[in-house]
Symmetry: C2
Subunit: 173 residues, 2 copies
Amino acid sequence: MTDEPLAFLPPRHDHDACIADALDRAERLCADRGERLTELRRRVLELVWSGHAPQGAYDILDALGQTRGRVAPPTVYRALDFLQAQGLIHRIESLNAFIGCPAPERRHSGHFFICRRCRTAAELDARAIDRAIDREAGRLGFVIEQRTVELLGLCAPCREAEATAAPGPTGRA
Amino acid sequence: MTDEPLAFLPPRHDHDACIADALDRAERLCADRGERLTELRRRVLELVWSGHAPQGAYDILDALGQTRGRVAPPTVYRALDFLQAQGLIHRIESLNAFIGCPAPERRHSGHFFICRRCRTAAELDARAIDRAIDREAGRLGFVIEQRTVELLGLCAPCREAEATAAPGPTGRA
DNA sequence: ATCAAGAATGTTATTTTATAACATGCTGCC
DNA sequence: GGCAGCATGTTATAAAATAACATTCTTGAT
């Protein structure tokens, strides 16, 4: 009924492997498409993948500024635009932020479950949700061009943590 | 299976009635709750309801500026915050804009179908969509606190118009 | 190798959206 | 009438995004 390419990963996992995998796939995907994954774009993608929490454009800008000298907003936004156009990242509208896509090979719009506590976002490939949406669109004669499905709340570990006491967030990679 | 309080209204309808109805219900709802629908808040709500297209905060600010003199952003944002807290308006995340809620009496998060051409947004009460989402949340053990479901595309009239030639938008109220 | 065309990046300035912090004013209650 | 709490006004600034133009890099044709 539903495939979950990633959903919520355990708080502590080998995140370097996530990054390496994402970059590898991006390389291959761009090569296949004849697109150029330049050093800058690669670096921005890497920064977006620095965790499983959505990253703001200015977070990335600041991080870029660490290695390269002074960087201006358009530099980052253009890279983000490219990555988004290639389906390598998704924009989270409700957070003005970006997150790496775990399945960039197939074009899709994701469904995001985002924890307000640990800030982790899980992208689901929930066909059932799209089907329900498509049915409504059909009834209206509406042609969908862009989907935004973002659910904010508490992931299971954080819900428990918040139920018990209320110490710091889980601190997922 | 689905109730549609409004869906897409015909392009030309008695929109003054929409506004009057929205304001009436807001008055009653606030009275019932012991909340104060002040002149300012009422006026901002009226401006949000100036059409069935989402309005930006600064659009409202400018419109307010016409009648009252100089108005500063916090004035508008505070009124919008209040209206949102009372469920009288919804925020459309993907547009940074606000739209009147056709069914403020019952707390809910809406599902929005937004036409990129005529800019009309229809709020559906599509239980089937929420059910599909709830099922996924259940599988994850995720507790949803805030839903954002926004579908951008073309409404039926605009799709036809765009198929034929490509003149101006429908111009819905 | 050289050059031209197009793509990518750099640079500067500005726009758009939103909030912080503090002052003033209004309203209802005692 | 005074005060407590809410609402609004005011000033300044933060945060997010883009416009417009300059420069550099890449690639393919010659």
